[in-house]
């Protein structure tokens, strides 16, 4: 990646048309290398993805659905690199730009992409991400990941979203949501913890 592109992407700056074209080219190059069947090309590509920032998040999410499991995994890890890079202290604009791209992925057709976006947002998401994340508490494929991700986000917005969702959640899921609220210091009536309730007998016999 060209140093000029890295600096623009990292800054989350308002880009000129030519700079945007350069960034698109850089991201396309990254994606091409991550889609390489050659480990020696793909590995270094995802490991260096951090500075590519927000513009690379969406394209990489598409690669997460690649049928080649190593390519899909590399794309997932590239997004992790971007999120860990953007989360560094003092990079607020970059972090928010990446979070905004992750929020867009919450509506992705692939549950794997939605899950990954939720967990990544659990690391850098702030109040604006909470409502779209909380919407996935109603998604049977990823609601448990949404609950976990919200549990990790500090602040009243996530607490309020979990409380609000209690009203409409399926009865069985309310126990999990009550747990998250208790973790966050809230008092919850009913729905006692099931954590020590044994449920899985063995088929192995003594003697």
């Amino acid at each position: 990646m060209k140093p000029q592109s890295v600096s623009l992407l990292a800054a989350g700056a308002v880009l000129t048309a030519s700079a945007r074209a350069a960034d698109r080219a850089a991201v396309a190059d990254l994606v091409a290398r991550i889609k390489s069947p050659d480990d020696a090309v793909r590995g270094p590509a995802w490991q260096s993805a951090g500075p590519y920032g927000a513009p690379a998040v969406g394209p990489l999410a598409e690669v997460m659905t690649d049928p080649h499991f190593e390519i899909a995994r590399s794309a997932r890890r590239a997004i992790e690199r971007i999120v860990r890079h953007a989360g560094r202290p003092g990079a607020d604009a970059e972090r928010r730009a990446v979070a905004a791209e992750l929020v867009k992925l919450l509506g992705h057709a692939s549950p794997n992409v939605r899950k990954h976006a939720l967990w990544m947002l659990s690391e850098i998401g702030e109040a604006p991400a909470v409502e779209p994340m909380a919407a996935l508490l109603a998604d049977p494929e990823v609601r448990e990941d949404a609950r976990c991700a919200l549990e990790r986000i500090p602040g009243a917005a996530a607490t309020d979203a979990l409380k609000k969702a209690m009203a409409t959640a399926p009865e069985a899921f309310k126990y999990a949501q009550a747990h998250s609220l208790r973790v966050r210091g809230e008092k919850v009536e009913g729905y006692p913890s099931q954590k020590r309730l044994p449920t899985k007998p063995t088929r192995v016999k003594a003697g």
Binding site: R73, A176, H179, S193, P198, T202
Partner: protein, 453 residues
């Protein structure tokens, strides 16, 4: 026999405490009958500790073998075994002569009032949840190292052990070994002067050079229970058994496996169990492919303050060959890991650090002067025996939960610095990362319900 109205666990401890009052502390046994008889006289069946084993593969199988040997001497009763792999479970039941009750779900064991103590040897991501639940159920706990996978898990373990007043021993058994005692004694009595640097070495973490796609779990495995607190994902043969160590979530790589031994000894020898670093900085190389994501090579620098010293975890680092080559062959000394302790007067090498610990002859030959520092010693240099004594007397075990968590925090923070790609700053009093919101959030990992703390 347990008097009516007194919980069995409390009665056993009270009985032991009475023995100590009678001057029986040095006896290598845990129950009243032994005070009155020879060291291996048999306690009555009802006064023996009832032990349950949670996780009976790998290290768990070793623990089970140890307890069965003690059972054959009449010390304990192995009353239950548990595993999420039915093949391993069936083998464990067979090894007990069919006498132990099998369970897939450890929570059945915690419901049994007759179980006094549990030995937890599951993959790392289960350690905290099972330990906390066992403490809440009033069971004494021996839990394999590392104690925890996240900072918040560790704090919860300490709280649970304290609140429920149970003896917890973390399985960093290096502290209990004979030559570790001598190394500790040598360092604590100032023979190195002020120790300013400890450099660990360890060979690299393996990488998965033959990745496989996700697949259906084998029929004997309860994949949901194996995952437990981790987010749900499809089964992959590269998760287990044994190789869970090479994933950050479930094992953390060599630093959380052997680092939990070698760095445990460093904290122990330097009297630093109740301290922590102020900064952690990691450089490393992670696999380019495959499921395993723990660093192949890494160097972590931990800076401690007041007193100031530096701890370095290095994979591979600079291995020091053990000087007695004949002994290496004879005893199978694993030189692939260890540490060098540098003081302003001298240095000392400590090899290995787990079930094997070796040090230099000068430490073995050393006798403290009158009034010198006395360092703790596990009974018979036996880590399990130290746990039993903790159960019996209520005294802190040599690798108590606070110490186990302090060591695990080093391992966790080393990996976190690598994951984040930056130096981390740590408040050792508040036990939290400072000045880095993302890293702070990574001090915990929300757990899949109902497998929660």
């Amino acid at each position: 026999m347990t008097p009516p109205g007194i919980p069995r666990r409390r009665f056993l401890r009270r009985s032991g405490a009475t023995l100590i009052g009678l001057g029986a502390a040095s006896l290598p046994q845990i129950l009243p009958a032994r005070v009155l008889g020879t060291p291996y006289s048999t306690p009555s069946a009802k006064d023996r500790l009832n032990i349950a084993h949670i996780g009976v593969g790998g290290m768990g199988n070793g623990h089970l073998g140890y307890m069965l040997a003690r059972q054959s001497r009449g010390d304990v009763n192995v009353v239950a075994v548990c595993d999420v792999d039915e093949n391993r479970l069936a083998a464990a039941v067979k090894s007990t002569g069919g006498k132990a009750t099998p369970y897939r779900d450890y929570r059945y064991i915690l419901e049994r009032a007759d179980v006094d103590a549990v030995v937890i040897a599951t993959p790392d991501h289960w350690h905290a949840v099972q330990t906390v639940h066992a403490c809440e159920a009033g069971k004494h706990v021996y839990v394999e190292k590392p104690a925890c996978c996240t900072i918040e898990e560790g704090k919860a373990m300490v709280r649970a052990a304290r609140e429920h007043k149970v003896a917890v021993q973390v399985g960093s058994q290096g502290r209990s070994q004979r030559e570790a005692f001598y190394a500790h004694q040598y360092i604590a009595n100032g023979m190195l002067g002020r120790v300013h640097t400890v450099k660990c070495w360890h060979y690299a973490t393996p990488s998965d050079d033959n990745p496989v796609p996700d697949s259906e779990p084998p029929p004997e495995l309860d994949w949901d229970l194996w995952l437990g607190p981790l987010p749900w994902r499809p089964y992959n043969a590269r998760y287990l058994h044994g190789v869970f160590r090479w994933l950050l979530e479930s094992g953390g790589g060599q630093i959380r496996d052997r680092g939990a031994h070698v760095m445990s000894n460093a904290l122990h020898f330097l009297g630093a169990d109740h301290t922590g670093p102020v900064s952690i900085e990691t450089k490393g190389r992670v696999p380019t492919k495959g499921l395993w994501d723990a660093a192949i090579e890494m160097e972590v620098t931990y800076q401690f303050k007041n007193p100031d010293w530096t701890l370095i975890w290095a994979q591979p680092g600079e291995m020091v060959p053990y000087p007695d080559r004949e002994r290496v062959k004879r005893e199978g000394i694993r030189e692939g890991y260890g540490a060098v302790y540098y003081g302003d007067k001298d240095k000392l090498v400590v090899w290995v650090g787990d079930g094997q610990v070796y040090t230099e002859q000068k430490a073995l030959d050393y006798t403290p002067p009158p009034g010198g520092v006395q360092v703790p010693k596990s009974p018979r240099f036996d880590h399990h025996e130290d746990w039993f004594e903790g159960i019996k007397t209520g005294r802190k075990t040599i690798m108590n939960i606070e110490a186990g968590v302090a060591t695990a925090f080093l391992c966790v923070l080393g990996n976190l610095s690598l994951i984040c790609g930056r130096k981390l700053h740590w408040d050792p009093v508040k036990q939290e990362i400072v000045g880095d919101e993302q890293a702070r959030r990574l001090m915990s990992r929300p757990q899949r319900y109902p497998y929660t703390l």
